[in-house]
Symmetry: C2
Subunit: 270 residues, 2 copies
Amino acid sequence: MAAWGERLAGVRGVLLDISGVLYDSGADGGVPIAGSVEAVARLKQSRLKVRFCTNESQKSRGDLVRLLQQFGFDISVDEVTAPVSAACQILRERGLRPHLLIHDGIRPEFDEIDTSNPNCVVIADAGESFSYQNLNKAFQVLMELENPVLISLGKGRYYKETSGLMLDVGAYMKALEYACGVEAEVVGKPSPEFFKSVLREMGVEAHQALMIGDDIVGDVGGAQRCGMRGLQVRTGKFRPSDEQHPEVKADGYVDNLAEAVDLLLLHADQ
Amino acid sequence: MAAWGERLAGVRGVLLDISGVLYDSGADGGVPIAGSVEAVARLKQSRLKVRFCTNESQKSRGDLVRLLQQFGFDISVDEVTAPVSAACQILRERGLRPHLLIHDGIRPEFDEIDTSNPNCVVIADAGESFSYQNLNKAFQVLMELENPVLISLGKGRYYKETSGLMLDVGAYMKALEYACGVEAEVVGKPSPEFFKSVLREMGVEAHQALMIGDDIVGDVGGAQRCGMRGLQVRTGKFRPSDEQHPEVKADGYVDNLAEAVDLLLLHADQ
């Protein structure tokens, strides 16, 4: 593999995944990943542009940012791109009235969306709310529709909590796709529209941008398909087998965000 | 389409699906489908061989047969082929110790199977037991295994209860397949091994056998792939779009089992 200097040359903007990179979530709120608070601070003091890019769909951006601030992270709501606002925009543009299979934590984000007489289903990381009854209800709504529309906030397979690996929305999206014979529209990583909106917000071109995440497919692969570079951290849901992934080869693997920032501050376009 | 006489010529054995053909299940026990009790009786009085072939995995064969007998069906346990016994045989042959994601109704069938220190997951139609916590536990067991083995009792998308369409085991199988990056081994319809075991039990060749079911893919398509013929009934989970299914074309569509038996008694090899 080329030297780090070559791999990071010309980077002007950095997209940071949150869960598994900044902190590990958990029923107790979670814990910051060692070195990440300082790493974010150093990155933001550099000339690199920084944006947080998450598929978090259990918490509102406000709740997530408040939690991260409590851990000491230098982060504000308008630096975070999350799929729920993109989803609401799609619903409004297309006159869709969703049946919501979501966590109560993000329900307020849909307060101004008409959910009467649903003509689509929106699924997010509902956690414990993924009961048989709730998934079955979403299934029944889709089966009643002549043109079933399923919108999924991300399609992650799993994420890591302090207590272990946890099923993410993608697994339930696949269950509904199979049961109803539909294909979901994914909002959030790895959808190209989502990455492109982050690049617009940063004002950098794809070839000048680097995504840092713990998901080899959703973060690294998704960013690479948009012409960006992608680093995988060995924290969060990282598994050693990711380094031999059959489809995705990261532009680099680092132990954690702190190592990624060390390398960036040494080698990226300053 | 050819005349019924041609389509049913040479049939010597009939495989009957149970749920959606004999009765519709439900929280209250369910209801027999009109005409099916008499149809089974007439079929069994004919020279045709009859066998019941179900993917039922919420109830033991004994409980299912007792329920059907209460509705008036002429049926006994040894006439029913269900996936649970095939699954137990596989577990024993391969020294597999399952983590069970199943309905309490069939738990006793696994009484003699070693479930300590699991090295595989068996998933069946667990109904309300498909909680987030239970699915996540099965996921975590698979992720801990070096060679994850997932055995699924059927892969149905949904079935019909008296209260409406209900998600079947296939949806949850797909969720685990996606989350863990594994492919499940399906025991039960439409696995060819399952159909072949029924043919052996009946003592008829595939080309002499007719499957009657409400599932265009699992019953009709599965039987046809084994060289059998398949009729779909317009009861149970049947939907009008099934008659234009992109992949499976039944050898005939009938309103219900009673009509199928009328036609068989007129045209099949007597």
